[in-house]
């Protein structure tokens, strides 16, 4: 089994707010991230696909295919967007790094026609990232 990783970058705005909580509770829990005008990040996404090496090509997958799927399924949905307002999943879920990673897993898992999605790693900043393995 070989693990192949590819990185992609996207930039997006978001803010953290739970409509079930009072304005005071939202400010207490989310602090500056609760500003309704939003703020932004340059996210770095690292997608890991696991698979066996094809004896004919010597490859687990064609990186062009993975790049294309990342562009179609993730970047077109999230890049240069206001996540709370423009991405359907975040009309209800709060677009924390955790929830964005889980959403990216959902967007990609069924679209990969090669290998098996192994891990989503999402950097919100170079010093803060989350990993999700699909369970």
């Amino acid at each position: 089994m070989i693990y192949v990783k590819r990185r992609a970058e996207f930039s997006a705005a978001h803010f953290y707010h739970n409509a079930d909580l009072s304005p005071e509770e939202n400010r207490r829990i989310f602090g500056k991230c609760n500003n309704p005008h939003g703020h932004g990040h340059n996210y770095t996404l690292e997608v890991t696909v696991a698979g066996e090496v094809d004896p004919t090509t010597g490859m687990v997958l064609d990186l062009k295919d993975l790049k294309k799927i990342l562009e179609q399924e993730v970047l077109q949905v999230m890049d240069h967007r206001f996540l709370n307002k423009e991405v359907p999943a975040f009309a209800t879920a709060i677009p924390t790094t955790e929830n964005i990673a889980i959403e990216i897993w959902k967007l990609l898992a069924s679209k990969l026609t090669f290998g098996k999605l192994h891990r989503i790693r999402l950097y919100e900043t170079p010093d803060l990232f989350v990993d999700y393995y699909g369970e």
Binding site: N18, D20, I94, E98, N99, H118, P126, L128, D131, E135
Partner: protein, 152 residues
């Protein structure tokens, strides 16, 4: 389960020297690191917590709790110090990166228990970079990698 990792930095001096060994053995074992005057590193510390994402907040960990614990337990204790001379636990233990990893895990394990809004959050891993070429990882005595979802 989501794994959340945050990076921190501290700088410290140390000397690798074991009192139980003689001067030749120390010199042979630790080489340049046995220099009696010590030397220093810019350490990069990665702390990983794991837990369920809390449905009310979308978060696995309260970053203020994480930052507070690391600042209080690690940075305030280690940063800009000579580990052998200024940190109690390294008066008797050689401050190798391995031992620093173990010590940081011990210092953070309890403060990070239930550090997330969902309360299932716990410390998963401590990773310490001594230089950009050397790094060390510790998952606690109960190494959960065999039962974690997949090999990382």
């Amino acid at each position: 389960m989501v794994y959340l990792t945050r990076r921190y930095r501290f700088s410290a001096a140390h000397r690798l020297h074991n009192e139980a060994l003689d001067a030749e053995e120390n010199a042979r074992m630790y080489g340049k690191c046995n220099n009696p005057y010590g030397h220093g590193h810019n350490y990069v510390l990665e702390v990983t917590v794991v837990g369920e994402v809390d449905s009310a907040t979308g978060m696995v960990c309260d970053l203020a709790v994480l930052n507070g614990a690391v600042q209080r337990e690690v940075i305030d204790r280690f940063d800009e110090t000579h580990l052998n001379l200024d940190v109690e636990s390294f008066r008797t233990r050689v401050p190798t990166a391995e031992n620093i990893c173990l010590e940081i895990f011990d210092l953070l394990r309890v403060p990070l228990k239930g550090a997330g809004p969902g309360r299932s959050t716990r410390l998963e891993r401590v990773r310490l970079e001594e230089t950009s070429s050397n790094f060390f990882e510790y998952y606690g005595e109960r190494d959960t990698r065999s039962t974690a979802p997949k090999v990382r």
